[in-house]
């Protein structure tokens, strides 16, 4: 009985680890994460999951490294949502859908894009950007 409970607990934590899309590697200034209606303080080392939203203040920036080695950074005054992240570490097949509602995003593509060009996409209020392998910046703002 005890052994089976331990097994279940182990399976739960393994599943949680598998669900992690990436990890917070950089946090500066004011920034938080919204997850399932809760507002969480951002810390270096914290996992990032599908459906998480990162919100930064006027002096806030956040850097994330994803399971496939993709990198993203979110600039000040931004709202960024990770909508879908799937990565198979054996085949490198995957899907990376994110949305920049406001602010600035910089990125470096990783293994998903190397395997399937344009499988990494950034949605904005007026467009969809497909990444075929590169470094990029996206800005959604009100200034010219």
């Amino acid at each position: 009985m005890r052994a089976s409970l331990a097994l279940i607990l182990f399976c739960v934590s393994a599943a949680a680890l598998a669900a992690d899309a990436g990890e917070i590697k950089v946090v500066q200034g004011s920034a938080y994460l919204e997850r399932a209606g809760e507002r969480l303080a951002l810390k270096v080392g914290m996992p990032v999951r599908e459906s998480d939203v990162v919100v930064t203040g006027s002096n806030g920036t956040v850097g994330i490294t994803f399971a496939d080695n993709s990198l993203l950074s979110i600039g000040p005054n931004s709202n960024f949502a990770l909508e879908r992240y799937v990565f198979n570490s054996t085949t490198h097949a995957g899907q990376f859908e994110s949305r920049l509602n406001k602010g600035t995003l910089a990125g470096v593509s990783g293994k998903i894009v190397k395997q399937s060009p344009e499988a990494m996409r950034v949605h904005t209020p007026s467009a969809i950007m497909g990444v075929r392998g590169t470094e990029f910046v996206v800005q959604v703002g009100d200034k010219h």
Partner: protein, 192 residues
Amino acid sequence: MAALAVAALIALALLTAKPVETFVVLPSADGHIGTVVVQRGDTRQVLNQPYAASRFGEAEVTRISPTEIDRNYAATLHALPHRPASFLLYFVTGTDDLTEESKPELERMLAAMRARPSPDVLVIGHTDTVGEEATNDQLSAQRAERVKGFLIGIGIPGERIRTAGRGERELLVPTADEVDEPRNRRVEINVR
């Protein structure tokens, strides 16, 4: 009356104002230029030149100067995490002993970990092309697990290590199928 017209125009402008959106391709650290494709409704713009930019409301792809990138996006670019670093380790066949050549590589790997604020490690096993693909997937995963054990043994916390098996998909030395190639039987480590 004129004031009313002006107010109406401003209101109209506000209502129809869309956020200004900018997409820019940057040269990567190694000078490589990639491509992004920006799709807005029926229009599709391909950006494949350094500093090529697509801006909302502009039909043509334009260029942004590095100075402008720095002025507008320095804080964001500065927040990009460390680039993942890759290391190759080889073991004496059938043992958990590193080959002589791999010992300095292990030192470089540990230095990369020390340089990062919250390092995590991905251990990726690779095989040569001898045997079935499914068997090689399994073999490469087992090889990665063994190296994870080795890394835990030298003091790296197990919860910071993940493993992957790539089988024969990513040959270091390209060969035909069923070729015994020791350089392809390797373990790659990504420090992130």
